[in-house]
Amino acid sequence: MSIQPEEVTLGLTQHDLVPDEESAGPALSRRARFGRGGRWYEFRLGARIGLVVTVILILAGVFASLIAPANPLHLFPQTAQGPSLHHLLGTDLDGRDVLSRLIYGSTSAYEGVGIAMLVTAIIGVPWGLIAGFGGKAADEGLMRLADVFFSFPALILSIGIISVLGPSLVHSMVAVGIAFAPSIARLLRGATLPLRRADFVLVASSLGVRRSRIVVRHVLPNAIAPILVQMFALASIALIIQAALGFLSLGAQPPASSWGNDLATAYTYFLSNPTATIAPGLCIAIAAWSLSALGDGLREVFIFG
């Protein structure tokens, strides 16, 4: 949560992507070599574990109603109990089963991350493309705008946007998506700059292809690799920020299950049931780590591809 998107460059710094102006771009479109694929065991161990864990958690979220031992909203008479045979992780202050809430929390966690990444892509990709392919003025202006957003920590910016929209899962994730968009924009702009002088771009434009079509059909697929990788790192941070916002009661409102919110309320009865404080946090940490490990693995595929 405290990690700022611009710090997480996953080894691809701006220096790698921004060229000096005289160099010619790549000759061949990278699409020809895109599908390197690779055997599953060629991925790093961390990335494989990350993939498996993420898939398990997402499936748990999707099939929550089948897996969860109890209804997460049902109030059992035993309130604030420690782990027991009926309630493997105990119950919360109002008597809801902690384990079921955790499983349903997985649903809202990954839904939230999905929304945030969608918003980031919708805002950030056009931003970066226009900055990379528009004129100098557009580039300068759009990047200055990105700098303005960069001066805010992501959490504070999200809180500010939530103050306008009102607290809810969707609003908080839209806010996070907006906060991350400048980072993607900047990365994409850096990736498209060397492609401006690429041979395949020059050929296409000399054949009379409209610039917008060149950008969407030729440039974008070649520039997308670092973006995809960065999206996973951002997704991991988005998960943590979502949990932090839930912790501050600015995300999904109770009684909806949310890992962050459950963590906050569990703290109030910490002495009765410490497991309820440990469990949601563990889920958040594991889910965030798996997403970022997955991104690390993807990075190696694309760099060697």
Partner: protein, 325 residues
């Protein structure tokens, strides 16, 4: 050098102006407009007062708050009043926002500055150590620990620490005491655990960055020559390698500060510290926009100033940056 400073100052000013525009515009994006949120009729959670107010009343209020004027006039009025120190009045308590902020700035400043200091000192020392001993288990252990430090959500760590160390074992006080604020010195006692927790993430970043820069410096040919010529190790590490490695770390400090600010919001919430972080949260829940606006703006200005200072410091340290940008 001077030209570089001027250019940096100009970009910082532009950034700050941009932030102020953003913060100002945020208020006017509210559904229903600013008068509505003052009355509380926009139907969101929190807020106070009734929903419907006759149009004539709204017009009167609009005139009183100068909302009739075109947006740029309103913006200009807002900016000039800020230069006079007037940030408006809180919707919630009707106190001047300045008073609210000044009251709560104390604990937050102690917290952030303490954590920054600790992070720099501890992170710096551990970074240097782990770079020197990077092949040995000691250095590797430090690196692994920092990897953990970056990934663990800090609010979780804070609740666990406050719970186990504070509530269960009573080593540290888990909560700020109720009643009037203790003096700066006395409050330090309550801030020990929060400062420690906050400094973990920032310290981990600084440690990693210093480790990687120093390791890279230590691999370079001029260091190897120094070793061969018999320069004492301490001189090599501190005078040669460290001087070259410190650059990226200085750039990292404003980012660490931003991370600390986010962390402060959460830590203050957990430990019930009456600081600016918890103020932001309660203001957002209460839809108290003037306070949120002022806090976010001040934050942006402080971050911009820190970035400027770190760029200047980098220029002072590294002649290459002074000459070509």
């Amino acid at each position: 050098m001077r030209r570089m400073i001027l250019r940096r100052v100009a970009t910082s000013v532009i950034t700050v102006v941009g932030c102020s525009l953003l913060v100002f515009a945020l208020r006017y994006l509210l559904p229903g407009g600013p008068i509505q949120d003052m009355i509380g009729g926009s139907g969101q959670t929190g807020g106070g007062g009734g929903g419907t107010v006759p149009i004539s009343e709204v017009k009167v209020l609009e005139a009183r708050f100068g909302l009739n004027n075109p947006p740029w006039v309103q913006y200009w009025d807002w900016v000039t009043s800020i230069f006079h120190g007037d940030f408006g009045r809180s919707y919630y308590s009707d106190e001047p926002v300045k008073t609210v902020l000044m009251q709560r700035a104390g604990p937050s400043l102690e917290l952030i500055l303490g954590a920054l200091l600790l992070a720099v000192i501890l992170g710096g020392a551990l970074g240097i150590y782990s770079a020197i001993r990077r092949e040995r288990p000691g250095g590797r252990a430090v690196l692994a620990a920092t990897g953990l430090g970056i990934s663990i959500p800090d609010f979780w760590l804070a609740t666990l620490a406050a719970g186990f160390l504070g509530l269960k074992l009573h080593i540290f006080p888990p909560l700020w005491p109720a009643g009037p604020n203790p003096s700066a010195a006395a409050s330090l006692h309550y801030l020990i655990l929060p400062i420690l927790l906050l400094s973990i993430v920032a310290g981990a970043f600084i440690c990693r960055q210093l480790h990687s820069s120093m390791a890279e410096a230590l691999r370079s040919p001029y260091i190897r020559t120094a070793w061969a010529m018999g320069v004492p190790p301490r001189t090599i590490y501190l005078n040669y390698a460290l001087r070259n490695a410190i650059g990226p770390v200085i750039t990292l400090i404003p980012l660490a500060f931003a991370a600390l600010v986010s962390g402060t919001v959460l830590v203050e919430y957990i430990f019930n510290i009456p600081g600016l972080g918890s103020q932001i949260v309660t203001s957002v829940i209460n839809l108290d926009y003037p306070v949120v606006q002022a806090t976010v703006l001040i934050l942006a200005i402080v971050v911009a100033i820190l970035n400027l200072l770190s760029d200047i410091a980098l220029g002072l340290l590294d002649p290459r940056i002074r000459r070509g940008v």
